[in-house]
Symmetry: C2
């Protein structure tokens, strides 16, 4: 029986993400993470300088899923493609809701600029003038990240907590959407989609440029 091959950085990141999905970011312990991987609690220092470096790697790994989810958008209109990218970004974050709160703090929407370039190209194709690109891009990113954080950051009790909050409002329309957590979840996605179309409509010109 040969010695087990040395573990990779990615092994630690994957284990840490799975671990955080269970107990939340604040629940992660160097010692438990080591034990889970069959190592001592100091083994991790061979791969990461400190906890912050591991956390950054976790965030980047979650964000790296977005391009995979997006896939090929060449058949779509620029506006549809942008909406699709937005939904995929939200979906990628929603897969690991307990890591979501760290995203705005890290303020690194991916360690590469690939996503920015991709979105920029779509915005240009949709007719956004060059000088307006940073505003349009930031509005879109802030909307996606912001609303997703707003919806999921309280995981795993986010749905029940918002349900109770809306219940306390005490008026009939809020009662309707706060009967069950399933209804809250449905409402969240509905509002996200509506707001997304509103944002796209507000920052994209009415008619795309002639090709």
């Amino acid at each position: 029986m040969g010695r087990r091959p040395a573990l990779q950085r990615s092994d630690f990141v994957a284990a840490a993400i799975e671990y955080a999905d269970e107990v939340g970011l604040d629940g992660i312990t160097w010692r438990t993470l080591g034990t889970r991987m069959g190592l001592s609690h100091t083994a991790i220092y061979s791969h990461f300088r400190d906890k912050d470096e591991l956390l950054a790697a976790m965030i980047n790994t979650v964000l790296a899923n977005i391009p995979d989810l997006v896939g090929d958008v060449s058949g779509m209109t620029p506006r549809d493609a942008l909406a699709h990218v937005a939904r995929c970004a939200r979906a990628a974050l929603a897969q690991h809701p307990r890591i979501v709160p760290a995203l705005p703090v890290a303020n690194s929407f991916g360690e590469s600029t690939a996503l920015v370039h991709r979105a920029s190209a779509l915005l240009v194709a949709a007719g956004v003038p060059e000088h307006d690109l940073p505003s349009a891009y930031q509005a879109l990113e802030a909307y996606i990240v912001g609303t997703t954080v707003h919806d999921f950051a309280g995981a795993p009790n986010h749905l029940e907590r918002r349900r109770l909050r809306y219940r306390l409002v005490g008026t009939e329309p809020f009662d309707v959407v706060s009967r069950t957590t399933a209804e809250i979840a449905r409402h969240n996605e509905l509002v996200f989609e509506r707001g997304l179309q509103v944002i796209l409509g507000g920052f994209l010109p009415l008619s795309p440029p002639a090709t």
Copy 2:
């Protein structure tokens, strides 16, 4: 010299907020907070069950500033009043940027429903139909909280971090807005204001109801 009067919960909350403004939420220590107030590090347990309870009180205190900033809106159109409330909410959060990251996690936009009722009344006055109130309210709240968290959560280095990120994009329009942190800050507020008008325009009917 009589004994110093017993401290209130609000004294601890105020000291904790000031403390968090300096070192961030993760930097807060039970012991240092006690020392700062001239008490032992366990005195706080006479007023708060645990750290989470103090944090919740801190958030509620920050949010309680919003109504004070809003003031009287009776002279404004409903839409202008909503925009004003949105700006005040952002301003109240921006006053304590290092507490902002905890806001979506707590998922409690104030412990009272007063703000929801106030916003609801304005939305109704602006012509939003009753059944649409939860969607319109949530879109607005998610936009305000979400974008503000997105902009400020990385404090105190949030401006420089975003500046470097935009700089890495490498295209001319992003270069323009990332020359200085002051320019980034200006850009943040500009995009917030534009997006706010877009959201209001998208969720409010075109013409307000006749009075």
